[in-house]
């Protein structure tokens, strides 16, 4: 049964694909694609809808059998219990600190480096850029053990710093910014240089303001990655005062598996900021996904 699930899903679509052809000659009517898209869209929304419903449901109803599809009434008990019995606000703060540090540092360091590799000519440039491109091939799993040993030697383990340092800059970010700077015409910068600006002034006053779209892509990429990161905090942080939100949630799950409303309330707290941000900046998110796919 289980193994046939995925193939079933696949084979249903070629049959729906040619259907709109028949409607071509008749009077215009709703596209046949709705028959495919509407159920898929609903299916994709189910987990999040369930998350909100469960977070607002009375705990008793979630563990009654058979479980009701719709709660009899909505309640904030799950959230109240969550805030009263856990450090979730502290973890939210920790994650926010990590994300802000990661995004801020990425924006500064990667745009500087991207500009340097794109525009400046200096000794070691080719070598430096080659080294950075080479790192893209290395899987993060290879780095976990030595980085852990390294961080514990310098006393970073179990502190928030351990979660932040790996997010200060990335090869992807440098690469993205370099690509962008290569794409803008150099004349603007030369005009600035002729007017007597230094490289730094040209960079900050002329180039960076043009780079907003690329900076938005970089910021979203870094925000998503640092906010949702689980593996590295799991390894590097065992002290629950330095827990990130994801780590706290994952830990919750093993300790309080049965309290669904509380777990789902935690899930809402962890996911809501990104959902809202996505709805607010959907275009930039899609641009980020496209770029990380095509150029990554």
């Amino acid at each position: 049964m289980a193994t046939t699930l995925a193939p079933e899903r696949r084979s249903s679509s070629p049959q729906t694909a040619p259907r709109p052809v028949q409607t071509r000659k008749r009077r215009p009517r709703p596209s046949g694609w709705h028959l495919f898209l509407a159920p898929v869209a609903v299916l994709f929304m189910v987990p999040f809808v369930q998350m909100f419903l469960a977070a607002l449901s009375p705990e008793k109803e979630l563990i009654s059998f058979p479980p009701p599809f719709i709660p009899s009434h909505l309640t904030l008990d799950g959230f109240i219990k969550l805030f009263a019995t856990s450090d979730v606000l502290l973890w939210l703060g920790n994650t926010t600190v990590v994300a802000i540090a990661a995004v801020g540092s990425h924006l500064v360091l990667c745009s500087l480096a991207g500009y340097g590799f794109a525009r400046l000519k200096f000794q070691g440039r080719t070598f430096g850029f080659f080294a950075i491109v080479a790192t893209i091939m290395i899987p993060t799993q290879l780095l976990m053990i030595p980085t852990y040993v390294m961080f514990s030697k310098i006393g970073l383990i179990d502190s928030l710093g351990a979660a932040i340092v790996p997010w200060l800059a990335s090869a992807f970010g440098i690469f993205l910014m370099r690509q962008f700077f290569l794409s803008i015409p150099a004349e603007l910068e030369e005009a600035g240089m002729l007017d007597g600006c230094s490289r730094w002034q040209v960079f900050f006053r002329v180039v960076l303001p043009l780079a907003k779209p690329a900076l938005a892509t970089l910021a979203i990429f870094t925000l998503l990655g640092s906010w949702n990161d689980l593996v590295w905090p799991l390894i590097a942080i065992n002290n629950d005062h330095a827990f990130t939100l994801q780590l706290g949630l994952a830990n919750f799950q093993s300790t309080r598996r049965v309290q669904w409303s509380l777990l789902m309330a935690g899930n809402v707290v962890a996911t809501m900021p990104l959902i809202l941000f996505f709805l607010f900046a959907q275009k930039q998110f899609i641009a980020t996904m496209t770029f990380s796919g095509l150029k990554g």
Binding site: V40, P67, C110, L120, I145, W260
Partner: protein, 320 residues
């Protein structure tokens, strides 16, 4: 014009060198040194972090893979011992098999789903914005959130899926608690979270397919399906190669969702390579053996990438 302006300092230096050798040469050298300094001031900090946190530890990991070390006591050099131990470690090979199963479930499904969704979303019809948002939003869900949602939705007793099964008269399933089904649930939930990625990539590629080509195919009497199959699909081939590599690399590195759903169970049926690696390294502190497994994973990634690229070269697809 742009070139000559950018390189202005160099020619003046060259000319000056001929006229006033010694003084000018030292000035030119000082300028070059300043330029190197300036360049590294721009790229240095980021390069230091990236290289320091990847190439350096990667080299260290190789040294570790030749040792037996628990992080505290004296490290013992064992040569290729860890690697030969891998070959005969049944638990590792089981993990490889579980990872392979997940890859087979997830990668083709994610590519096909992304392709269908992209084709469907690539048109101007009513509610298209809503459909797009609904399908893309799950992309922001973290592994921890997805894991909790999976255990909730697929809970055998209280979960929505079994509840729906019960109402429509299908037999109840164990899902994450059944060793034959757990990996399928994990693959389904990965699809939910990551369909947006392949969809967006295919959408971007579809928008690059020249409209005139499709139109002329239709005028020649091709139906939409034929037009897609003979015109669009060949144009999408490079993207398909890229996406298969990308998704495969992601799939063989599966860890998060296993950790947040089954922790490798039931009966180790979802224990993947990276989960095995994590257990060896951070549960039983076999840093040396863990590093060797990590290098094995690295090698596997490279082999798969090279194989797909070679295969697509032979099939005459320009992917890179």
């Amino acid at each position: 014009m742009t070139q000559s302006l950018m390189q202005r300092p160099v020619p003046t230096g060259e000319v000056a060198k001929a006229a006033f050798p010694a003084a000018a040469r030292s000035r030119a050298r000082r300028r070059a040194r300043l330029r190197t300094l300036e360049g590294w001031a721009f790229v240095g900090p980021a390069t230091l972090f990236v290289v320091g946190l990847s190439i350096f530890p990667a080299g260290w990991a190789f040294l570790l893979s030749l040792q037996k070390w628990d992080g505290f006591s004296e490290a013992k050099f064992v040569g290729t011992g860890n690697y030969s131990k891998m070959l005969s470690d049944q638990e590792l090979w089981d993990a490889v098999a579980h990872t392979g199963l997940y890859t087979l479930l997830f990668v083709p499904a994610s590519i096909l789903l992304g392709l269908f969704l992209a084709v469907a979303l690539n048109r101007k019809i009513r509610f298209i914005g809503f459909y797009r948002t609904a399908i893309f939003v799950p992309f922001v869900a973290s592994a921890a959130a997805t894991g909790i949602l999976s255990t909730y939705l697929f809970n055998p007793q209280y979960g929505l899926v079994n509840n729906v099964f019960r109402v429509i008269g299908l037999p109840q399933q164990g899902w994450l608690e059944d060793k034959a089904e757990a990996m399928v649930v994990i693959a389904l939930m990965s699809l939910w979270g990551q369909a947006a990625f392949t969809t967006v990539i295919y959408l971007a590629a579809l928008q690059d397919v020249p409209g005139e080509l499709l139109e002329s195919a239709r005028i020649d009497g091709a139906n939409r399906w034929q037009a897609f199959w003979h015109v669009s699909w060949p144009q999408l081939a490079p993207v398909t190669v890229f996406v298969s590599i990308w998704q495969t690399i992601g799939a063989i590195q599966l860890f998060d969702l296993v950790y947040t759903t089954t922790r490798g169970g039931p009966l180790d049926s979802t224990k993947t390579i990276v989960y095995f690696l994590w257990e060896k390294a951070f549960k039983v502190l076999q840093f040396g053996y863990g590093s060797a497994v990590a290098y094995g994973l690295f090698a596997l990634t490279l082999v798969i990438t090279i194989a797909v690229v070679l295969y697509s070269r032979r099939a005459k697809v320009e992917a890179f």
